[in-house]
C-alpha cells in the first residue's frame, strides 16, 4: 500500500477522482435512463403503497402514523432506506420493547417487504439509501488500509477482531461476525442506535469497502496459534492459563506426589 501522504499528494489523485466521478455519473445515468424511468416510477410508487401498509401494521405504534416519531421511537423522516434495510434486515426492528439498545433477532420480514418498507420510509424525507451491489463489492478493496481505518474508527467499540464491546450502562457494541457486507455498510452509513454515523462525506465508500474487506478477512482468517479463546484479549487468556494451565499442572503434581498403590490394603 502507498503511504497515506503519498496518496494524498499524488499528482494523479485529482484525475482519478475525476474519472471515478465521471464513471459514477455515467453509471447513475445508465441506471436511471429515461426509457426505464417510467416503469420504475410506477413500481416505486407501488412499493411505497405496499410499504405504507406494512408500516402501519408493524412500525406505526412507536414511530407514529406518518413516521413523525413518538415517545417510544424516533422520527423516521430523513433516516433513509439504508436505515430501514439495516434495522429490519438484521431483525432489530420491529423492536420487542423500546429502549436504548435493541438487539438483533430473527428477521420477520422478507427482503421484498423490507424493500417496500424502505421505499416508504425513504419517501418521507431524503436520507441515505440502500447501498448498491457495487458499493459493497470488496474484491478490489485494500484490506490493510481497511484494518488501519478499522482500528481508528471501529475497534474502540467493536474490539480489534470485531467481537463487540461494552458501552455505558449495559449498552454494548455488537459482534461483527456473520453480518453481511451490506448491513455493515448500512450501519456505518446510518449510525444505528447509539453508534455514530460515518457518512460518505467523512468515510468514503472506498473507505467503507476497505473496512468491510478487512472484516471479511478477520472473520475468515485462521486463528494461527490455536483456539482464539474468543479473541477477547488477556482476560480470557489469564482465565485459561489458571484453569487449564495451572490446573493441568496441579493434576500432574498430584499424580507425581501420590503414594503408589500398595500390594495389600491395610
Amino acid at each position: 500500500m502507498k503511504k497515506l501522504s503519498a496518496r494524498r499528494r499524488h499528482p494523479l489523485a485529482a484525475l482519478v477522482v475525476l474519472l471515478l466521478a465521471l464513471a459514477a455519473t455515467g453509471g447513475l445515468y445508465a441506471a436511471l435512463a429515461p426509457q426505464k424511468a417510467v416503469a420504475d416510477d410506477t413500481q416505486q410508487s407501488l412499493a411505497i403503497e405496499e410499504g405504507k401498509k406494512l408500516y402501519a401494521v408493524g412500525c406505526s405504534s412507536c414511530h407514529g402514523m406518518s413516521g413523525q416519531g413518538s415517545s417510544n421511537g424516533p422520527t423516521l423522516v430523513g433516516v433513509g432506506s439504508a436505515a430501514v434495510d439495516f434495522q429490519v434486515g438484521t431483525g432489530r426492528m420491529p423492536a420487542q420493547q423500546p429502549g436504548e439498545q435493541v438487539p438483533s433477532k430473527k428477521v420477520i420480514y422478507t427482503q421484498a417487504e423490507i424493500d417496500q418498507l424502505a421505499a416508504y420510509v425513504a419517501s418521507l424525507g431524503p436520507g441515505p439509501s440502500i447501498p448498491s451491489k457495487d458499493d459493497t463489492n470488496v474484491t478490489s478493496a485494500n484490506m490493510a488500509r481497511g484494518g488501519e481505518l478499522f482500528r481508528t474508527n471501529c475497534a474502540q467499540c467493536h474490539n480489534y477482531a470485531g467481537k463487540g464491546g461494552a458501552l455505558t450502562n449495559g449498552k454494548f457494541a455488537p459482534i461483527l461476525e456473520g453480518v453481511s457486507n451490506k448491513h455493515i455498510f448500512e450501519a456505518m452509513l446510518t449510525g444505528p442506535q447509539n453508534m455514530p454515523s460515518f457518512p460518505d462525506s467523512t468515510l468514503t465508500k472506498e473507505n467503507k469497502r476497505d473496512i468491510i474487506a478487512y472484516l471479511n478477512e478477520v472473520n475468515s482468517s485462521p486463528s494461527y496459534g490455536g483456539n482464539s479463546l474468543g479473541s477477547l484479549g488477556p482476560v480470557t487468556e489469564g482465565l485459561f492459563g489458571w484453569i487449564f494451565g495451572l490446573g493441568a499442572l496441579i493434576a500432574v503434581a498430584v499424580w507425581v506426589a501420590a503414594h503408589t498403590t500398595k500390594a495389600k490394603k491395610s
Binding site: 500500500m1 482500528r151 474502540q156 486463528s223 479463546l229 484479549g233 495451572l246 503434581a253
Partner: protein, 544 residues
C-alpha cells in the same frame, strides 16, 4: 536439581566416572557437598510441588526467551511492513512490531516459541502466587523461613513487572496502550512525575527509546536479579530442609520422606519435562497474544478489551474502580484518580509479603517451626489470607469489567459500583466467614476425636433404639489431629502492680497485646480434646 551431583549418577559408577568425580572433588569439594545433599530427604505432597511449577516455568521462559532474542529487534524505528501477513502489508509500524510478526509468520517454530514463552509466563506468575498462598495458609513462612518467604515474594513482584515489560515489547496496539497507561501513572507522581516520564521515554510519549530500554530491563536486569533471588531461595530450601505436614513419626525435629537420589531426582527432574510438555501442548492448541490481530501501536488508536496480562489485572481493577479525584492547588495538579491506585498497588502486595514479620511480632513466637499448620487450626491467619484473596479477586473482576459486562449482559457501571463497594466490604465478610468455617472444622475434628468416625452403619440396640456406629479413630489419626499447639495470647499483665504503682505499658505493647488477643484469644480456637476427656468417654462413663 541445583547441586553438582550429576557426575556421580549411578550410571557413572565405573572407575572413569569416579575419576571425574575425584577431579571435581579436588577443585570443588564435591564429595562434601554430595554427602550432605545426595540422600537429602524430601517429603511428598502435591502442594510442595507448586514451587517446582514456578521454577520450571521460569526455566522455560528463559529458554524460549533466549530464542526470541535471536530474532526480535527492540527498535522503534518506523518501517513499512512487507512480510507474509497480508492484512498488514504496506502498513507503517515499528521494527519491534515488524520483527515480532516475522517471528510469528516467517520463522519456523517462532510462533510456537512465542506462545510457549507467553503461556509459561502466565503459568509462572500464577504458580508463584499459588505457591505463596500455600506457604501462607500452612504457616510455612514462620521462623526460620521468613526471609525465604520474602525472597519468594520478591520473585513474584519482579515476575509481575518483567511480565508487564515483555507484554510491552512487541509494540502492538494492546501493548502500546499498556505503556501509555504507564506514562499516565508516572505523570501522576507528585513533583517529580513529569521529569520521571521524560527520562523514562527519552522525551515525550512514546518517543523512540522506551522499547529498547524495556528490552534491556526485560531480558537482562530483572531476570538477572530474579536468577540471584532464585538461587538464594533454593539454597535456603536445601539448608532449612523442607517443612512437612504433621503425622505419625513426623516431628518438628525431623523430616520424613524419600531421598533426593534417586527418587526426587527422578520425580523432580521428570516433573520439569511434564511441565514443559504440558505448556508446549497448550501452546500448540491455544493461541495467546495474537499481536497480528491487534495491529501496530498508534497513540490515537485503541481496541476495547484493553487489559494487561492477568497478573497486572488487579492493578487494572484498582485503577478502574477509582473515582476521578483531582486536586488543583497553587498551580499544581495532584491526580489522585491515578496516584492513589499507584500507592495502593504495592501496599496490597506488600501486606502479604511482610505478613510473616507481622505475625511473629504479634505472637512473640521465637521458636523454629518445621511442622505445617492445618489452615483450620489458625482461623485468624486463614481468614486474613482468604480476605486478601477475595480483595485480589474482586480487583481482577473490576479489571475485566468490560468483558464481564458484555459476556454476562451486565452494566459496566453496575459492575464498577459493585467492585467499589466490594473492595471494602468483601474482605471483611470473607474474613468473618472463613474464621467461622475454620472454627466449625476445628469443632468437627474435636467430635471426630472424641466420638470417632461416622461409619454410616445403623445398628438397632436390644431396646429398639437405632444408632449409627462410630468407629474410633486409629491412633495415627488421633495424633495427627491433636499434635498442633493452641497458643495463648500475649498478656501485658496488670497495669497496676501489687503496691498500687502504675506500671508503664507503652502504646505499642498494648496494641501488640490486643492483636495477639485477636489472633489467639477468645473465639479463635476450639479447645482440642485432652487425653483425659478422651479416656473418660472411651471408658464408657459420662458424656452422653
Amino acid at each position: 536439581m541445583s547441586t553438582p551431583t550429576d557426575t556421580t549418577k549411578p550410571r557413572g559408577k565405573a572407575p572413569a566416572g569416579e575419576r571425574v568425580a575425584d577431579w571435581a572433588d579436588g577443585r570443588l569439594g564435591l564429595y562434601g557437598l554430595a554427602k550432605a545433599n545426595m540422600r537429602k530427604i524430601f517429603p511428598d505432597h502435591w502442594s510442595f510441588m507448586l514451587g517446582e511449577v514456578s521454577l520450571y516455568s521460569f526455566i522455560i521462559v528463559i529458554l524460549t526467551g533466549v530464542y526470541l532474542t535471536l530474532f526480535f529487534h527492540p527498535s522503534m524505528s518506523e518501517v513499512t511492513y512487507n512480510g507474509t501477513y497480508a492484512p498488514l502489508q504496506g502498513i507503517q509500524m515499528s521494527e519491534a512490531y515488524a520483527s515480532t510478526l516475522h517471528i510469528s509468520f516467517d520463522v519456523r517454530g517462532g510462533l510456537l516459541m512465542r506462545q510457549v514463552h507467553h503461556w509459561a509466563a502466565i503459568v509462572f506468575v500464577a504458580a508463584m502466587l499459588v505457591h505463596m498462598m500455600r506457604v501462607f495458609f500452612t504457616g510455612a513462612f514462620r521462623k526460620p523461613r521468613e526471609l525465604n518467604y520474602l525472597f519468594g515474594f520478591l520473585l513474584l513482584f519482579l515476575g509481575m513487572f518483567d511480565g508487564f515489560m515483555g507484554y510491552s515489547l512487541p509494540d502492538d496496539l494492546l501493548s502500546g496502550t499498556g505503556i501509555r497507561f504507564m506514562e499516565g501513572a508516572v505523570l501522576s507522581v507528585p513533583i517529580v512525575g513529569t521529569y520521571l516520564s521524560f527520562f523514562l521515554f527519552g522525551g515525550e510519549f512514546p518517543g523512540h527509546d522506551v522499547i529498547p530500554r524495556f528490552y534491556t530491563i526485560h531480558v537482562l536486569l530483572i531476570p538477572g536479579i530474579m536468577a540471584g533471588l532464585l538461587v538464594a531461595h533454593l539454597i535456603l530450601v536445601f539448608y532449612h530442609k523442607h517443612t512437612q505436614f504433621p503425622g505419625p513419626g513426623r516431628k518438628n525435629t525431623n523430616v520424613v520422606g524419600m531421598p533426593l537420589l534417586p527418587v526426587y531426582m527422578a520425580k523432580a527432574g521428570g516433573f520439569f519435562f511434564l511441565v514443559f510438555g504440558v505448556i508446549a501442548a497448550i501452546s500448540a492448541l491455544v493461541s495467546v497474544n495474537p499481536i497480528w490481530s491487534y495491529g501496530p501501536y498508534r497513540p490515537d488508536q485503541v481496541s476495547t478489551d484493553a487489559q494487561p496480562d492477568w497478573y497486572m489485572g488487579y492493578s487494572e481493577g484498582l485503577i478502574r474502580i477509582m473515582p476521578g479525584w483531582e486536586i488543583n492547588l497553587w498551580g499544581h495538579t495532584l491526580q489522585l484518580g491515578v496516584f492513589i491506585p499507584l500507592v495502593v498497588f504495592p501496599l496490597v502486595l506488600g501486606f502479604i509479603g511482610l505478613y510473616p514479620f507481622f505475625e511473629s511480632w504479634v505472637t512473640g513466637d521465637k521458636r523454629e517451626h518445621h511442622l505445617l499448620d492445618r489452615p483450620r487450626n489458625r482461623p485468624v491467619r486463614t481468614g486474613i489470607g482468604a480476605a486478601w484473596i477475595s480483595l485480589y479477586l474482586i480487583l481482577l473482576v473490576a479489571g475485566g469489567n468490560d468483558i464481564f459486562a458484555t459476556r454476562f449482559h451486565l452494566s459496566i457501571n453496575v459492575i464498577t459500583w459493585v467492585s467499589r463497594i466490594g473492595f471494602f466490604v468483601l474482605p471483611v465478610v470473607v474474613f468473618l466467614a472463613t474464621k467461622r468455617i475454620a472454627l466449625g472444622l476445628q469443632r468437627r475434628d474435636r467430635d471426630k476425636i472424641l466420638h470417632g468416625r461416622e461409619t454410616g452403619i445403623i445398628k438397632r440396640l436390644p431396646h429398639g433404639e437405632f444408632i449409627e456406629i462410630h468407629e474410633p479413630l486409629p491412633q495415627s489419626a488421633l495424633y495427627t489431629l491433636t499434635s498442633h499447639e493452641q497458643p495463648k495470647p500475649l498478656e501485658i499483665g496488670p497495669e497496676v502492680d501489687e503496691n498500687g504503682v502504675e506500671r508503664k505499658v507503652g502504646r505499642i505493647a498494648k496494641l501488640r497485646a490486643r492483636l495477639s488477643q485477636a489472633m489467639y484469644g477468645r473465639d479463635t480456637q476450639i479447645p482440642k480434646p485432652t487425653p483425659e476427656e478422651y479416656k473418660e468417654i472411651m471408658s464408657g462413663h459420662g458424656h452422653h
